[in-house]
Symmetry: C2
Subunit: 160 residues, 2 copies
DNA sequence: GCTCAGCAATTGATTGCTCAGTAATTGAGA
DNA sequence: TCTCAATTACTGAGCAATCAATTGCTGAGC
């Protein structure tokens, strides 16, 4: 059948387009990098990369707790995802839930002392992996442009 | 306690480092973009983004089937992950398994006619989302450098 | 030719998320 | 002041991945 053959060719062209290729690169680089960090953190610190992302937010401003809602938005998780993640982190003593002063629906989260200690060890591991596979492979000039572009892309997604 | 206070400050600095921030941007941009594509493809074509990634590989070279092993490596899935993914795709008639001529351990996968048809529709959706949120937000010059950098990063991860 | 270490795919059990639905709380407008 | 739509967290069910263990097959070295 001729139409089948033409569809084959069309599909082959679509599958080979630069757009597909370039975007594939982004996805692959990001997932490989995240996997590498995740396994390193699990081995050395017994936490997942997701937990690390939570600790980053909690430690950033030492005297300002963060609501679960905000964490969910920041990590692109659903509210139920965050509930269970914080459950696990509370269970292993990394964080503590505290009621929100002004709003009784909301729950604030803060790191425990142990949480901060683990975070410091984890941050060192994180930095070394990121340094090696994210920073080192590109020239300093390109690195600046890379992060700027990623910022633009993230902004476009956020605004939409 | 003084040591606790110092640990607080140290953690705050680590959590605010440019490295952490920049890498966070990559992860966030990639996951948001992938989510957007995934929901669009699910709504319009009833396939997941992961299935789309499989179809890309299968349609790229029309007369060369691809082994599950290769697909798993390419998509950064485990072999068991690929087995179940292909199960589902075979179940909905998108692909077909065929025995590998030279090696009876290996299973090759090829797209069905329906698989190619769905792929063509999906590719159009994919292109429009990628165009809008990945290409449009950066200048053409930066886009070239962006993909080059991502290529370098991916290469570094692959080599290691 | 035989053995055996290694690889491909599969399966059972588990993990970590989503979705849909629920309960408590809030704040804006009649 | 009261009502009600929106918002927060949580829960049960389900899904898509992982890990660990198994089976069948292959090829290199003796």
């Amino acid at each position: 059948m001729d139409t089948a053959k033409r569809e084959n060719d069309e599909a082959a062209r679509a599958a080979d387009s630069p757009l597909v290729h370039d975007f594939g690169l982004l996805i692959k680089a990001a997932t490989r990098l995240e996997q590498r960090i995740d396994t390193a953190l699990r081995k050395e610190c017994e936490i997942s990369h997701t937990m690390f992302e939570v600790l980053i937010r909690l430690c950033r401003h030492p005297d300002e707790e963060i609501s679960q809602r905000r964490l969910a938005d920041d990590l692109t998780l659903t509210s139920s995802g965050i509930t269970r993640l914080i459950d696990r982190m509370e269970g292993t003593g990394l964080v503590r839930r505290v009621p929100a002063p002004g709003d009784r629906r909301s729950v604030l989260v803060e790191p425990t002392g142990q949480g901060r200690t683990v975070f410091l060890r984890a941050a060192a591991i994180h930095a070394s992996v990121v340094e090696r596979y994210f920073v080192a492979p590109v020239t300093p000039a390109d690195y600046g442009r890379l992060t700027r572009s990623l910022g633009e892309i993230e902004k476009a997604l956020r605004d939409a």
